[in-house]
């Protein structure tokens, strides 16, 4: 398995940032691990949720890169369930996510080249 080049994001990490950005745009500035996995499943149309180890390792890396921050939710918000670790995009994270989305859009356009109309 090849090592990543420094400063690059893995596809899953990009996917996480994009999902976080879409949640931000729909009014949810913070998210937790399971909520993120659920959103990613819905957005990709996948049948399965991301593995625990894979997801939380990626979240940890994104936090190290300064693209996400996290904190424990307030004890007052917890009602008969374990408290969640809440994540949030940083300004840099939002910019990286927007750039990734723009790159995806460019690649999508490139994938379907224009076909010149036939001469009359």
């Amino acid at each position: 398995m090849s090592r990543r080049k420094p400063g690059t994001l893995l596809p899953l990490e990009t996917e996480i940032l994009e999902a976080a950005l879409s949640m931000l745009h729909s009014g949810h500035a913070t998210f937790h691990g399971f909520g993120l996995a659920q959103t990613m499943r819905e957005q990709t149309g996948s049948r399965s949720l991301t593995g625990h180890g894979t997801l939380y390792k990626a979240l940890s890396r994104l936090e190290e890169f300064g693209l996400l921050t996290s904190r424990w939710e307030d004890a007052a918000a917890v009602d008969g369930r374990p408290r969640r670790r809440l994540y949030e995009l940083t300004g840099q994270g939002a910019r990286v996510a927007e750039q990734a989305l723009a790159n995806n859009a460019d690649q999508a356009v490139g994938r379907f080249p224009r076909v010149a109309s036939e001469p009359a």
Binding site: M1, H32, G33, F34, G35, A37, Q38, S48, L49, T50, G51, H52, G53, T54, L55, Y56, K57, A58, S60, R81, P82, R83, R84, R85
Partner: protein
């Protein structure tokens, strides 16, 4: 297997691979995945998913994340000193997971539960990948 039993198995695995890590790091991982497991079960039950499917989904997530768990742990606390002790422990854990996978396959075949067979295969593949990766990293 109930979702709660599956969650206990995952929690036990998390406590195992976070063992000997600094307490704040280990506790955060234990608590965070504990919350995930709770949310997972609650969400799927609200959707009407059967307990068996929920349990399989939980175990499948564990199996698919095994190698990432190992590499995360190595990043947090790189192997030093005698590498054989943690190596043997990780390989023993991989063997244990593979054994669970074999049991799942056998029960799945006898009970005509193809999803259990699939889960067993996933566990075995995950355990194998974990073992190979651990062996490679120890060189």
């Amino acid at each position: 297997m109930t979702p709660e039993r599956a969650a206990q198995l995952v929690a036990r695995w998390v406590r195992f691979y976070t063992g000997e890590l600094p307490t704040p790091i280990a506790q955060r991982r234990v608590d965070e995945i504990g919350a995930d497991l709770h949310d997972h079960i609650a969400h799927e039950r609200a959707r009407g998913t059967s307990d068996r499917r929920i349990a399989l989904s939980i175990l499948s997530r564990m199996a698919r994340g095994l190698t990432a768990d190992a590499s995360w742990r190595r990043r947090v606390r790189p192997l030093k000193g005698d590498p054989m002790k943690p190596l043997v422990a990780i390989l023993a854990a991989a063997l244990g997971v593979a054994a669970i996978g074999v049991v799942a396959i056998m029960r799945g075949e006898s009970g005509d539960a193809p999803e259990l067979v699939l889960l067993g295969i996933l566990l075995i593949v995950g355990a194998f990948a974990l073992g190979v990766r651990t062996a490679q990293r120890s060189k």
